[in-house]
């Protein structure tokens, strides 16, 4: 069980930041989609930049091993286009309405928000629906 502790701590930090940065706020998401503030773009761009730079550092300097001794490798997404665009459109449409993507849903559920719990229940239903319909969808 102890080996899961680093994941738990990282998750706590992630949830804390999502609330403190108000990335889990419906208001901030509307502000973002209407280009009225740099705040959310700043979060996303600096997150991408930080991840990009640290991955370059890991590749060059680290021995390329994780704490538990595995060789670090970055898995490639499956090739394709349609499923990424269609899926993205559907998810994005939901995000623009409800103002919460999956990370913030979990963070907001932690604050005790009943509404966020309903969104999570819906997201599980939607995931299940995808699983059931998968072979009938264009990919």
């Amino acid at each position: 069980m102890l080996r899961y502790l680093p994941y738990l701590c990282s998750g706590v930090l992630f949830g804390f930041v999502l609330i403190k940065s108000e990335a889990a706020s419906w208001y901030r998401i509307q502000e973002m989609f209407h280009f009225q503030s740099f705040h959310m773009y700043g979060i996303l761009l600096s997150a991408i930049l930080t991840a990009f730079v640290s991955i370059q550092l890991i590749r060059r300097h680290a021995r390329g091993q994780s704490l538990d001794g595995q060789a670090i490798e970055i898995p490639s997404k499956l090739p394709g286009r349609g499923s990424y665009i269609f899926g993205g459109l559907i998810f994005g449409f939901g995000w623009g309405l409800v103002g919460l993507c999956p990370g913030p849903v979990f963070a907001l559920v932690g604050t005790g928000s009943m509404g966020a719990m309903v969104v999570l229940a819906g997201a599980l239903q939607g995931t299940w629906l995808y699983g059931a319909l998968k072979q009938h969808l264009p990919h």
Partner: protein
């Protein structure tokens, strides 16, 4: 200890979020992404009688990820309840004007508007339906903001760029053409 209750600027929050990618790789060679957990939760609870192939895999391989989102909920509790910010979300003036024109009140003591998240049959139907779109869309696209926009773009993966373009287009459509009419026709 003021910094624990106040909101954090983007240049503090963004880098911490970005660090999750190398952190997951460094801890256990894992790829950072949140929406996979929705699949794991379905796999765990799939009843024996309904057998959907998409959920037939060994979810125990992914316990780390479920532990991570459990932490995310805990972090949400700490930041939103224990160290709650007493002040309302500070929005741009243009956003405040826009919200008022949509028939919303300005933010008060919550990150989400009571007009959409307050307990009512209408609201919960709306929230559930949005959740279905989020769950369906993220699985169809194979990731969400974390897995595609952050992990995918920072590792220069073309599929993630397609996904992000789709996500942003969908968000713009919803936010520009549907949200303004949600409360008032």
């Amino acid at each position: 200890m003021d910094w624990l209750t106040r909101p954090w600027p983007w240049y503090v929050a963004g880098p911490i979020i970005g660090l999750m990618v190398p952190l997951m790789l460094f801890i256990g060679n894992r790829s950072f992404g949140i929406s996979n957990n929705l699949r794991h939760l379905c796999a765990i609870t799939q009843p024996g009688k309904v057998d959907v192939e998409f959920f037939r895999y060994d979810w125990k391989e992914h316990v780390w990820s479920l532990v991570f989102v459990t932490g995310t909920g805990l972090g949400g509790y700490l930041a939103g309840v224990v160290f709650a910010d007493p002040n309302p979300v500070q929005l741009a003036q243009a956003t405040q004007d826009m919200l008022l024109s949509w028939g919303f009140l300005l933010p008060a003591d919550s990150l989400v508007p009571d007009e959409l998240f307050g307990a009512s049959v209408r609201n919960f139907t709306f929230l559930f339906a949005c959740g279905v779109l989020v769950g369906f869309g993220t699985r169809y696209a194979g990731g969400c903001t974390s897995g595609h926009a952050i992990t995918g773009l920072s590792t220069l993966q073309l599929p993630s760029l397609y996904a992000v373009l789709g996500i942003f287009t969908g968000g713009l459509l919803a936010s520009w053409f549907f949200m303004p009419h949600m409360l008032i026709g």
